[in-house]
């Protein structure tokens, strides 16, 4: 349980990091270390070079501009958890973060690291899917943007080149009256979810649903938008029957089958958790917008 030998680099700027990434073979980027370090300790990865991003300047910030929240890739989960901006206008992120690991891991773990590790059960990955977030990537040829729907290339593999690194992610804002819920099922507090559900909801009063985002984490090889559920409820008046009927379609989602749970159990959880998250979000619509920040 010791990391294998490697060369260590701790660049101070993004351009220096990009240059190292482009010139070194078999290099790994080290962000918060909450995924890479266990993999190094187990020797699941054997990099020749580790490029530590912790001393790179300008990658840790939370910036609200207009209708967008821009988060620097090296921003710690802790900083997002304690951000008043996040809690007031992206409250689902606060709710989700409290279910990310533990205080000890959130103090170190970063949003960029979480998105690039791309565990399909990770809360922040699920939220980026729910919000159609936009990822900013920098490489030797400059900067480009990736819509989060296109970000997962395969299971736990982001669609970025070996010489590129993620510098920021942007989350659009929903209306000030929107409601939300993030719930997950895991065996122990702080574990990765077997399945999670993220719901964003806008409605006329507490009645007709005008906009919905329903996302399931931990089910497929990447978090999945439950489009069938969204289509079935938008334009309808919310009711327990509506949610129950709509969420049944989640039983058809393609699901992982592994040591933690068989596919059929994940599909069952997808149907149950999406319904519960919709009910929770809908109940919150009845509260004044300010009180929805829990």
């Amino acid at each position: 349980m010791k990391p294998p030998p490697f060369s260590y680099h701790d660049p101070q700027t993004v351009s220096e990091a990009v240059r190292l990434l482009g010139s070194l073979d078999n290099a790994k980027l080290l962000a918060g270390g909450q995924s890479l370090m266990p993999m190094l300790n187990f020797r699941f990865v054997l990099p020749d070079h580790v490029i530590d991003l912790n001393r790179v300047e300008g990658l840790s910030y939370i910036r609200e501009s207009g209708d967008t929240l821009e988060i620097g890739a090296m921003t710690r989960q802790r900083d997002l958890e304690f951000s008043g901006t996040v809690r007031a206008r992206w409250p689902i992120m606060h709710e989700a973060l409290l279910q990310v690991g533990h205080r000890q891991t959130r103090n170190r773990g970063t949003i960029g690291g979480s998105l690039c590790h791309l565990d399909p059960a990770a809360e922040l990955v699920t939220l980026a899917t729910a919000y159609d977030a936009t990822v900013t990537v920098v490489g030797p040829n400059g900067q480009r943007e990736i819509a989060f729907a296109d970000f997962p290339a395969a299971y736990m593999a982001p669609s970025i080149e070996l010489n590129e690194l993620v510098t920021a992610v942007r989350f659009p804002r929903w209306s000030p009256n929107h409601s939300y819920a993030f719930i997950e099922f895991s065996r122990r507090h702080g574990d990765f979810a077997i399945t999670s559900a993220a719901v964003l909801l806008e409605a006329e009063g507490a009645g007709k649903i005008t906009r919905a985002s329903v996302t399931l984490g931990g089910v497929g090889t990447a978090p999945t938008r439950a489009r069938e559920v969204e289509q079935a409820i938008v334009g309808e008046v919310a009711s327990p029957e509506l949610f129950r009927a709509a969420c049944e379609s989640c039983r058809k989602l393609e699901a992982l089958d592994d040591v933690h749970a068989p596919a059929s159990y994940r599909q069952h959880l997808a149907a149950v958790l999406s319904r519960r998250a919709l009910e929770k979000a809908h109940a919150r619509l009845a509260e004044p917008a300010g009180a929805r920040v829990h």
Partner: protein, 178 residues
């Protein structure tokens, strides 16, 4: 031998300068090179919490950090919690009084975790204590006395005119703007 680097850091208020192989984890450095073996290693992959230390006043799994990353930073390990060699911190005293140690293996990580927790939540509920402890595995499987000790320590710290936190328990650096 692999690539090495010189690092300088403060641990429990004392400054150390040393040379370390870049692949060495902070936990192994603290134990093997600084001789502070109070920090325990359980799983070595970030699950059990036994190796928890405070890094710039924030709890972290020292098995998930490299020693080179601690260059220029301040650490608190379990050895730094007691105010003097013959005096216990109120948190340690409460663990002693309420039999919160049991076999003692997970205790260093639990104490460092709780120093941060009680600093930030001086008046916790039992549920909050249990959530705070959820990242620390006790395989004696008895959290009851640990929780009782924590709540007793919170009360004692609340009643003391100026709760004393060890050197290295202060939060360093500000979080990025709201």
């Amino acid at each position: 031998m692999g690539e090495k680097r010189k690092i300088a850091l403060t641990v429990n208020g004392r400054r150390y300068e040393d040379e370390v192989e870049v692949r060495v984890t902070l936990a192994d450095f603290v134990r093997g090179q600084l001789g502070l073996t109070g920090t325990h290693l359980g799983c070595e992959h970030g699950v059990c919490g036994a190796c928890t230390i405070l890094f710039d006043g924030m709890s972290a799994r020292s098995c998930l950090m490299l020693a080179v990353q601690a260059d220029g930073h301040e650490l608190l390990t379990v050895e730094g919690i007691a105010p003097s060699p013959d005096e216990l911190h109120p948190l340690q005293q409460a663990f002693h009084e309420h039999h919160g140690l049991q076999c003692g293996y997970c205790t260093p990580g639990i104490l460092t975790t709780l120093i941060e927790f009680l600093r930030d939540n001086p008046d916790p509920t039992e549920k909050e204590v249990r959530i705070a402890l959820s990242g620390n595995l006790c395989r004696c499987t008895g959290y009851q006395n640990i929780v009782t000790a924590t709540l007793a320590a919170a009360q004692k710290l609340k009643d003391s005119p100026e709760p004393k936190w060890p050197q290295g328990a202060q939060l360093q650096g500000a979080a990025p703007s709201p």
